[in-house]
């Protein structure tokens, strides 16, 4: 089975999905990412889906799970590069990906991660 590479960039992890995702590869990515977050102590995860021409309910749910799992592991997730046709289809399908941060470009996504990580009290950091 193919696995999607996870790159480390500073304090963030970067995933670019460039293959057609079957369900098993999607589940493996979720597991690999969780492990890498803990191993590296990454504070942010950026997932570039600009090459994905289809996001169905399973893949959408996987993206939402990754965001939720990352949050529990003290990391923020941003999904970047969603194609307009994919966004329209997802909403009609009934999946609005609540709780998943998005940005249009990788640059925008990195900016969003930096802001989220820098914000006081963000990411479960105790302020008291």
């Amino acid at each position: 089975m193919e696995r999607i590479p996870i790159l480390r960039m500073g304090g963030f992890l970067l995933v670019t999905i460039q293959i057609e995702l079957d369900d098993q590869v999607a589940v493996a990515l979720q597991e690999d990412l969780s492990e890498r977050i803990v191993k590296t102590g990454a504070r942010g995860v950026l997932i570039d889906i600009s090459a994905l021409r289809v996001v169905d309910s399973f893949i959408g749910r996987m993206l939402a799970s990754i965001a939720a799992i990352s949050k529990l592991l003290d990391a923020e997730t941003v999904v970047v590069g969603m194609q307009p046709a994919v966004a329209i289809t997802l909403v009609e399908l009934g999946l609005s990906l609540k709780g998943v941060h998005t940005a249009l470009t990788v640059e925008g996504g990195m900016e969003r991660l930096r802001t989220a990580v820098a914000a006081p009290g963000a990411n479960g950091h105790r302020t008291s």
């Binding site: 057609e20 995702l21 079957d22 369900d23 098993q24 021409r53 289809v54 996001v55 169905d56 309910s57 399973f58 749910r61 194609q83 307009p84 046709a85 994919v86 329209i88 289809t89 009609e92 399908l93 009934g94 999946l95």
Partner: protein, 134 residues
């Protein structure tokens, strides 16, 4: 409605679901569907193919180009010999799930296509027919 060209693909693994997506993408591209039209039909096909695989214990899909006057479209017929769906009304409502999904498969894919028909018999199987017009 006239059927022009037909192809069958078996649905036994999650790789087959990806294959069906690619086949539907190719056909809708050939037929000149808009990008959004392609994406909707490919996504609906992906949902229904996964349903056939997970709930129907595998099956097949018939992919055929259809013609209605000047309109051309793609019809997909998903068939399995699985346990069938006891309550179709419930199965078509959002949030209903017996498997690992969110329960958006049937109801969600119905919203993405122009025509949707489901025929299911407990103990015999399920057949879902969808059509997307260009």
């Amino acid at each position: 409605m006239v059927t022009a060209q037909a192809e069958t693909q078996t649905l036994q693994t999650s790789q087959d679901v990806v294959l069906v997506r690619q086949m539907v993408r190719q056909k809708t591209t050939d037929l000149g569907f808009s990008l959004i039209g392609q994406t909707k039909l490919v996504t609906a096909a992906s949902e229904l193919a996964r349903n056939t695989l997970e709930h129907g214990r595998g099956g097949r899909v018939l992919i055929e180009t259809v013609q209605n006057g000047h309109r051309s479209g793609l019809r997909l017929v998903f068939e399995d010999s699985g346990p069938g769906i006891p309550d179709l009304h419930q199965a078509l409502s959002d949030g209903y799930t017996t498997g690992t999904g969110l329960g958006l498969g049937l109801g969600g894919s119905r919203r993405l296509v122009d025509e949707f028909e489901i025929d299911s018999h407990v103990g015999q199987g399920t057949r879902v027919t969808i059509v997307g017009w260009k």
